[in-house]
Protein backbone atom coordinates (compact mmCIF):
# COMPACT_ATOMS: atom_id res chain seq x y z
CA UNK A 1 0.00 0.00 0.00
CA UNK A 2 2.71 2.46 1.06
CA UNK A 3 4.84 1.43 -1.91
CA UNK A 4 1.93 2.07 -4.28
CA UNK A 5 1.37 5.48 -2.73
CA UNK A 6 5.05 6.26 -3.21
CA UNK A 7 4.90 5.27 -6.85
CA UNK A 8 1.84 7.44 -7.40
CA UNK A 9 3.61 10.40 -5.79
CA UNK A 10 6.65 9.72 -7.99
CA UNK A 11 4.48 9.70 -11.10
CA UNK A 12 2.82 12.95 -10.07
CA UNK A 13 6.14 14.68 -9.41
CA UNK A 14 7.50 13.40 -12.73
CA UNK A 15 4.41 14.74 -14.50
CA UNK A 16 4.79 18.15 -12.87
CA UNK A 17 8.43 18.24 -13.93
CA UNK A 18 7.63 17.38 -17.54
CA UNK A 19 4.89 20.03 -17.53
CA UNK A 20 7.34 22.66 -16.28
CA UNK A 21 9.87 21.76 -19.00
CA UNK A 22 7.15 22.00 -21.66
CA UNK A 23 5.99 25.35 -20.29
CA UNK A 24 9.61 26.50 -20.53
CA UNK A 25 9.79 25.51 -24.20
CA UNK A 26 6.59 27.45 -24.92
CA UNK A 27 7.95 30.49 -23.08
CA UNK A 28 11.16 30.31 -25.08
CA UNK A 29 9.20 30.28 -28.34
CA UNK A 30 7.10 33.26 -27.20
CA UNK A 31 10.23 35.13 -26.16
CA UNK A 32 11.87 34.55 -29.54
CA UNK A 33 8.72 35.78 -31.32
CA UNK A 34 8.57 38.82 -29.06
CA UNK A 35 12.22 39.70 -29.65
CA UNK A 36 11.53 39.82 -33.38
CA UNK A 37 8.09 41.41 -33.38
CA UNK A 38 8.00 43.91 -30.51
CA UNK A 39 8.39 47.55 -31.52
CA UNK A 40 10.89 49.17 -29.14
CA UNK A 41 13.86 48.37 -26.94
CA UNK A 42 12.01 48.29 -23.60
CA UNK A 43 9.23 45.99 -24.74
CA UNK A 44 11.77 43.73 -26.44
CA UNK A 45 13.69 43.57 -23.19
CA UNK A 46 10.48 42.37 -21.55
CA UNK A 47 10.41 39.53 -24.09
CA UNK A 48 14.04 38.68 -23.32
CA UNK A 49 13.25 38.46 -19.61
CA UNK A 50 10.39 36.10 -20.40
CA UNK A 51 12.93 33.94 -22.21
CA UNK A 52 15.22 33.88 -19.19
CA UNK A 53 12.73 33.39 -16.36
CA UNK A 54 10.08 31.36 -18.18
CA UNK A 55 12.50 29.60 -20.49
CA UNK A 56 15.38 28.83 -18.13
CA UNK A 57 14.26 29.01 -14.48
CA UNK A 58 10.97 27.15 -14.86
CA UNK A 59 12.39 24.21 -16.90
CA UNK A 60 15.37 23.97 -14.55
CA UNK A 61 13.03 23.52 -11.61
CA UNK A 62 11.22 20.90 -13.73
CA UNK A 63 14.53 19.13 -14.41
CA UNK A 64 15.30 19.11 -10.70
CA UNK A 65 11.89 17.54 -9.95
CA UNK A 66 12.37 14.92 -12.71
CA UNK A 67 15.84 13.95 -11.51
CA UNK A 68 14.58 13.76 -7.92
CA UNK A 69 12.28 10.86 -8.83
CA UNK A 70 14.55 9.16 -11.39
CA UNK A 71 15.64 6.07 -9.46
CA UNK A 72 18.00 4.90 -12.23
CA UNK A 73 20.36 7.78 -11.38
CA UNK A 74 21.07 6.33 -7.94
CA UNK A 75 22.42 8.72 -5.29
CA UNK A 76 23.46 11.16 -8.02
CA UNK A 77 19.84 12.21 -8.44
CA UNK A 78 20.10 14.45 -5.39
CA UNK A 79 23.21 16.06 -6.86
CA UNK A 80 21.46 16.72 -10.19
CA UNK A 81 18.37 18.05 -8.42
CA UNK A 82 20.38 20.33 -6.17
CA UNK A 83 22.52 21.71 -8.96
CA UNK A 84 19.48 22.38 -11.18
CA UNK A 85 17.57 24.08 -8.38
CA UNK A 86 20.56 26.18 -7.36
CA UNK A 87 21.20 27.23 -10.96
CA UNK A 88 17.55 28.23 -11.27
CA UNK A 89 17.83 30.31 -8.09
CA UNK A 90 21.02 31.98 -9.33
CA UNK A 91 19.46 32.85 -12.70
CA UNK A 92 16.36 34.16 -10.93
CA UNK A 93 18.51 36.54 -8.88
CA UNK A 94 20.88 37.69 -11.63
CA UNK A 95 18.82 37.93 -14.83
CA UNK A 96 16.29 40.58 -13.68
CA UNK A 97 19.16 42.67 -12.32
CA UNK A 98 20.87 42.57 -15.69
CA UNK A 99 17.80 43.67 -17.60
CA UNK A 100 16.98 46.26 -14.95
CA UNK A 101 20.37 47.90 -15.20
CA UNK A 102 20.33 47.77 -19.03
CA UNK A 103 16.93 49.45 -19.16
CA UNK A 104 18.03 51.96 -16.54
CA UNK A 105 21.11 52.91 -18.56
CA UNK A 106 19.17 53.12 -21.81
CA UNK A 107 16.59 55.37 -20.18
CA UNK A 108 19.20 57.61 -18.58
CA UNK A 109 21.11 58.13 -21.81
CA UNK A 110 17.99 58.27 -24.04
CA UNK A 111 19.43 55.62 -26.31
CA UNK A 112 16.11 54.27 -27.47
CA UNK A 113 12.95 56.06 -28.61
CA UNK A 114 10.13 55.54 -26.11
CA UNK A 115 7.53 55.14 -28.82
CA UNK A 116 4.44 53.30 -27.57
CA UNK A 117 4.35 54.86 -24.11
CA UNK A 118 1.63 55.08 -21.48
CA UNK A 119 3.46 56.18 -18.33
CA UNK A 120 7.06 57.27 -17.71
CA UNK A 121 7.68 57.77 -13.99
CA UNK A 122 11.46 57.94 -14.38
CA UNK A 123 11.15 60.66 -16.99
CA UNK A 124 8.84 62.60 -14.65
CA UNK A 125 11.41 62.23 -11.87
CA UNK A 126 14.16 63.53 -14.12
CA UNK A 127 12.20 66.65 -14.96
Amino acid sequence: MIRMLGEIIQQIVFGIGVCLVTIGAVFDLLAALGLVRFPCFYVRMHAATIGVIGGAVVPLIGVSLISLVSDQLGPYRFMFAGISFFTALLIMITAPVGTHILANAAHKLDLSPKEPIIVDKMGEDKR
Binding site: L90, I93, T94, V97, I101, N104
Partner: protein, 265 residues
Protein backbone atom coordinates in the same frame (compact mmCIF):
# COMPACT_ATOMS: atom_id res chain seq x y z
CA UNK B 1 14.07 54.69 -38.26
CA UNK B 2 15.60 51.43 -39.42
CA UNK B 3 18.49 51.77 -41.84
CA UNK B 4 20.37 49.16 -43.81
CA UNK B 5 23.24 47.18 -42.35
CA UNK B 6 25.99 49.62 -41.49
CA UNK B 7 29.40 49.28 -43.08
CA UNK B 8 31.28 48.63 -39.81
CA UNK B 9 29.08 45.67 -38.85
CA UNK B 10 29.59 44.25 -42.35
CA UNK B 11 33.36 44.55 -41.91
CA UNK B 12 33.21 42.87 -38.47
CA UNK B 13 31.07 39.99 -39.70
CA UNK B 14 33.26 39.35 -42.74
CA UNK B 15 36.41 39.49 -40.61
CA UNK B 16 34.95 36.99 -38.16
CA UNK B 17 33.91 34.71 -41.02
CA UNK B 18 37.35 34.89 -42.64
CA UNK B 19 39.08 34.25 -39.32
CA UNK B 20 36.94 31.23 -38.51
CA UNK B 21 37.44 29.86 -42.05
CA UNK B 22 41.22 30.20 -41.65
CA UNK B 23 41.04 28.47 -38.26
CA UNK B 24 38.94 25.64 -39.65
CA UNK B 25 41.36 25.28 -42.56
CA UNK B 26 44.40 25.04 -40.30
CA UNK B 27 42.64 22.69 -37.90
CA UNK B 28 41.66 20.45 -40.79
CA UNK B 29 45.23 20.50 -42.13
CA UNK B 30 46.60 19.32 -38.80
CA UNK B 31 47.33 22.74 -37.34
CA UNK B 32 46.38 21.52 -33.89
CA UNK B 33 49.18 18.98 -34.12
CA UNK B 34 48.84 15.42 -35.22
CA UNK B 35 48.06 12.57 -32.95
CA UNK B 36 50.39 12.44 -29.96
CA UNK B 37 53.24 10.10 -30.53
CA UNK B 38 53.48 6.80 -28.70
CA UNK B 39 56.18 8.07 -26.36
CA UNK B 40 53.89 10.83 -25.04
CA UNK B 41 50.96 8.45 -24.53
CA UNK B 42 53.19 6.57 -22.11
CA UNK B 43 53.28 9.57 -19.75
CA UNK B 44 49.49 9.67 -19.58
CA UNK B 45 49.36 5.96 -18.85
CA UNK B 46 51.97 6.39 -16.12
CA UNK B 47 49.97 9.14 -14.44
CA UNK B 48 46.65 7.30 -14.66
CA UNK B 49 48.25 4.14 -13.28
CA UNK B 50 50.17 5.77 -10.45
CA UNK B 51 48.27 8.84 -9.22
CA UNK B 52 46.14 7.00 -6.67
CA UNK B 53 47.65 3.50 -6.78
CA UNK B 54 47.08 2.31 -3.19
CA UNK B 55 48.59 -1.10 -3.97
CA UNK B 56 51.92 0.15 -5.30
CA UNK B 57 52.77 3.45 -3.66
CA UNK B 58 56.20 3.90 -5.24
CA UNK B 59 55.22 6.80 -7.50
CA UNK B 60 51.79 7.70 -6.19
CA UNK B 61 50.64 11.25 -5.48
CA UNK B 62 48.15 10.41 -2.74
CA UNK B 63 45.25 12.12 -4.51
CA UNK B 64 42.52 10.73 -6.78
CA UNK B 65 42.46 14.02 -8.69
CA UNK B 66 45.02 13.46 -11.45
CA UNK B 67 45.08 17.06 -12.70
CA UNK B 68 45.93 18.51 -9.29
CA UNK B 69 48.53 15.77 -8.85
CA UNK B 70 50.18 16.75 -12.12
CA UNK B 71 50.04 20.45 -11.31
CA UNK B 72 51.43 20.22 -7.77
CA UNK B 73 53.35 16.96 -7.73
CA UNK B 74 54.56 15.53 -11.04
CA UNK B 75 55.03 18.95 -12.69
CA UNK B 76 55.21 21.08 -9.55
CA UNK B 77 58.14 23.16 -10.78
CA UNK B 78 56.07 24.50 -13.66
CA UNK B 79 53.35 25.75 -11.32
CA UNK B 80 55.87 27.35 -8.97
CA UNK B 81 57.28 29.34 -11.88
CA UNK B 82 53.79 30.29 -13.03
CA UNK B 83 53.16 31.70 -9.57
CA UNK B 84 56.45 33.57 -9.85
CA UNK B 85 55.41 35.11 -13.17
CA UNK B 86 52.13 36.34 -11.67
CA UNK B 87 54.02 37.65 -8.64
CA UNK B 88 56.40 39.63 -10.87
CA UNK B 89 53.52 41.02 -12.94
CA UNK B 90 51.67 42.22 -9.85
CA UNK B 91 54.83 43.74 -8.42
CA UNK B 92 55.35 45.66 -11.69
CA UNK B 93 51.75 46.89 -11.53
CA UNK B 94 52.23 47.98 -7.91
CA UNK B 95 55.25 50.08 -8.89
CA UNK B 96 52.94 52.26 -11.00
CA UNK B 97 50.50 52.97 -8.17
CA UNK B 98 50.71 56.46 -6.69
CA UNK B 99 51.55 56.05 -3.02
CA UNK B 100 53.04 52.63 -3.56
CA UNK B 101 52.20 49.91 -1.06
CA UNK B 102 50.70 52.48 1.29
CA UNK B 103 48.35 53.79 -1.38
CA UNK B 104 44.94 54.46 0.12
CA UNK B 105 41.53 55.06 -1.26
CA UNK B 106 40.30 58.40 -0.01
CA UNK B 107 36.79 59.77 0.03
CA UNK B 108 33.50 58.55 1.39
CA UNK B 109 31.64 57.54 -1.75
CA UNK B 110 28.21 58.17 -0.29
CA UNK B 111 26.32 58.49 -3.57
CA UNK B 112 28.34 56.06 -5.63
CA UNK B 113 27.12 52.79 -6.97
CA UNK B 114 24.10 51.76 -9.00
CA UNK B 115 20.46 51.34 -7.98
CA UNK B 116 19.29 49.53 -4.84
CA UNK B 117 18.28 46.42 -6.80
CA UNK B 118 21.77 46.02 -8.25
CA UNK B 119 23.40 46.64 -4.87
CA UNK B 120 21.35 43.94 -3.12
CA UNK B 121 21.81 41.41 -5.90
CA UNK B 122 25.57 41.94 -6.11
CA UNK B 123 25.86 41.48 -2.33
CA UNK B 124 23.97 38.16 -2.48
CA UNK B 125 25.89 36.89 -5.51
CA UNK B 126 29.27 37.87 -4.09
CA UNK B 127 28.54 35.82 -0.94
CA UNK B 128 27.70 32.80 -3.13
CA UNK B 129 30.86 33.35 -5.18
CA UNK B 130 33.02 33.38 -2.04
CA UNK B 131 31.54 30.06 -0.87
CA UNK B 132 32.03 28.46 -4.29
CA UNK B 133 35.62 29.69 -4.53
CA UNK B 134 36.50 28.32 -1.09
CA UNK B 135 34.91 25.02 -2.07
CA UNK B 136 36.97 24.91 -5.27
CA UNK B 137 40.20 25.63 -3.40
CA UNK B 138 39.69 23.39 -0.37
CA UNK B 139 38.32 20.42 -2.30
CA UNK B 140 40.78 20.82 -5.16
CA UNK B 141 42.63 17.65 -4.21
CA UNK B 142 39.49 15.48 -4.44
CA UNK B 143 37.36 17.04 -7.15
CA UNK B 144 38.21 19.31 -10.09
CA UNK B 145 39.33 22.72 -8.98
CA UNK B 146 42.46 23.86 -7.26
CA UNK B 147 44.17 26.93 -5.90
CA UNK B 148 44.37 28.91 -9.11
CA UNK B 149 40.77 28.21 -10.13
CA UNK B 150 39.53 28.99 -6.63
CA UNK B 151 41.55 32.18 -6.35
CA UNK B 152 40.43 33.54 -9.69
CA UNK B 153 36.81 32.69 -8.82
CA UNK B 154 37.16 34.47 -5.49
CA UNK B 155 38.32 37.58 -7.35
CA UNK B 156 34.86 37.84 -8.93
CA UNK B 157 33.33 38.74 -5.54
CA UNK B 158 35.21 42.04 -5.00
CA UNK B 159 34.84 42.82 -8.70
CA UNK B 160 31.05 42.49 -8.39
CA UNK B 161 31.06 44.69 -5.32
CA UNK B 162 33.16 47.32 -7.12
CA UNK B 163 30.82 47.26 -10.12
CA UNK B 164 27.56 47.21 -8.18
CA UNK B 165 28.32 49.34 -5.13
CA UNK B 166 31.67 51.11 -5.17
CA UNK B 167 35.26 50.61 -4.23
CA UNK B 168 34.56 52.47 -0.98
CA UNK B 169 32.22 49.69 0.11
CA UNK B 170 35.11 47.29 -0.44
CA UNK B 171 37.32 49.44 1.78
CA UNK B 172 34.62 49.53 4.46
CA UNK B 173 34.52 45.72 4.32
CA UNK B 174 38.23 45.67 5.13
CA UNK B 175 39.86 45.17 1.76
CA UNK B 176 43.06 47.23 1.92
CA UNK B 177 46.06 47.23 -0.35
CA UNK B 178 48.49 46.65 2.53
CA UNK B 179 46.39 43.80 3.94
CA UNK B 180 46.13 42.12 0.53
CA UNK B 181 49.89 42.39 0.06
CA UNK B 182 50.48 40.91 3.52
CA UNK B 183 48.17 37.95 2.90
CA UNK B 184 49.75 37.33 -0.48
CA UNK B 185 53.20 37.32 1.09
CA UNK B 186 51.90 34.84 3.68
CA UNK B 187 50.71 32.57 0.87
CA UNK B 188 54.04 32.82 -0.93
CA UNK B 189 55.94 32.00 2.25
CA UNK B 190 53.65 29.01 2.79
CA UNK B 191 54.33 27.77 -0.73
CA UNK B 192 58.07 28.09 -0.19
CA UNK B 193 57.93 26.30 3.17
CA UNK B 194 55.77 23.43 1.92
CA UNK B 195 57.88 22.92 -1.20
CA UNK B 196 61.26 23.12 0.54
CA UNK B 197 60.45 21.18 3.74
CA UNK B 198 61.48 17.84 2.12
CA UNK B 199 64.97 19.29 1.58
CA UNK B 200 65.53 19.10 5.36
CA UNK B 201 64.96 15.34 5.15
CA UNK B 202 67.41 14.99 2.24
CA UNK B 203 64.47 14.77 -0.18
CA UNK B 204 63.63 16.51 -3.43
CA UNK B 205 62.18 19.99 -3.74
CA UNK B 206 58.34 20.07 -4.13
CA UNK B 207 58.27 16.43 -3.06
CA UNK B 208 54.85 15.16 -2.03
CA UNK B 209 55.03 11.47 -1.19
CA UNK B 210 57.91 9.16 -0.40
CA UNK B 211 60.00 8.48 -3.50
CA UNK B 212 62.86 6.08 -4.14
CA UNK B 213 66.18 7.82 -3.53
CA UNK B 214 64.89 10.21 -0.88
CA UNK B 215 64.64 10.01 2.89
CA UNK B 216 61.49 12.15 3.11
CA UNK B 217 58.55 10.06 4.39
CA UNK B 218 55.98 12.15 2.55
CA UNK B 219 53.20 14.44 3.72
CA UNK B 220 50.38 12.68 5.60
CA UNK B 221 47.64 11.39 3.31
CA UNK B 222 45.32 10.00 5.97
CA UNK B 223 44.91 11.46 9.44
CA UNK B 224 42.55 9.14 11.23
CA UNK B 225 39.18 9.48 9.47
CA UNK B 226 40.30 12.62 7.63
CA UNK B 227 41.62 12.49 4.10
CA UNK B 228 44.36 15.08 3.58
CA UNK B 229 45.85 14.25 0.21
CA UNK B 230 49.52 14.85 0.93
CA UNK B 231 50.96 18.28 0.22
CA UNK B 232 48.31 19.08 -2.40
CA UNK B 233 45.85 20.62 0.08
CA UNK B 234 48.45 22.99 1.56
CA UNK B 235 49.64 23.95 -1.91
CA UNK B 236 46.04 24.61 -3.01
CA UNK B 237 45.24 26.72 0.03
CA UNK B 238 48.38 28.85 -0.26
CA UNK B 239 47.96 29.23 -4.01
CA UNK B 240 44.36 30.31 -3.40
CA UNK B 241 45.59 32.96 -0.99
CA UNK B 242 48.24 34.18 -3.43
CA UNK B 243 46.04 34.34 -6.52
CA UNK B 244 42.95 35.86 -4.89
CA UNK B 245 44.96 38.53 -3.09
CA UNK B 246 46.88 39.34 -6.27
CA UNK B 247 43.63 39.92 -8.14
CA UNK B 248 42.38 42.17 -5.33
CA UNK B 249 45.68 44.09 -5.43
CA UNK B 250 45.21 44.60 -9.17
CA UNK B 251 41.62 45.86 -8.73
CA UNK B 252 42.54 48.34 -6.02
CA UNK B 253 45.65 49.42 -7.93
CA UNK B 254 43.55 50.05 -11.03
CA UNK B 255 41.20 52.24 -9.01
CA UNK B 256 44.10 54.17 -7.48
CA UNK B 257 45.64 54.67 -10.92
CA UNK B 258 42.31 55.93 -12.21
CA UNK B 259 41.71 58.43 -9.42
CA UNK B 260 45.35 59.28 -8.89
CA UNK B 261 44.82 59.78 -5.16
CA UNK B 262 47.76 58.30 -3.37
CA UNK B 263 49.14 59.97 -0.31
CA UNK B 264 50.62 58.80 2.90
CA UNK B 265 49.23 56.27 5.32
Amino acid sequence: MRRGISRSSLVIVSLALALSLILVYFAAMGGLGGHPSASIVGIGQFIVNNTYNVFNRTYWAGSPEAVTSIIWDYRGFDTIFETTVLFAAVMAALLLVPGGIRGRIQGSGKDEGLTLIVKTASKIISCIVVVLALNLALRGYISPGGGFAGGSSYAIAPLLLIAGLSVFYLVRLGYRLSRAIGLRTLGLVGLVVVSSLPLLYMGYIIQNQAKPGSMFPGYPVFLGPLYLGGSLIYMNVFEFLVVSMEFIIIFIAMFLLDRGCGGSA
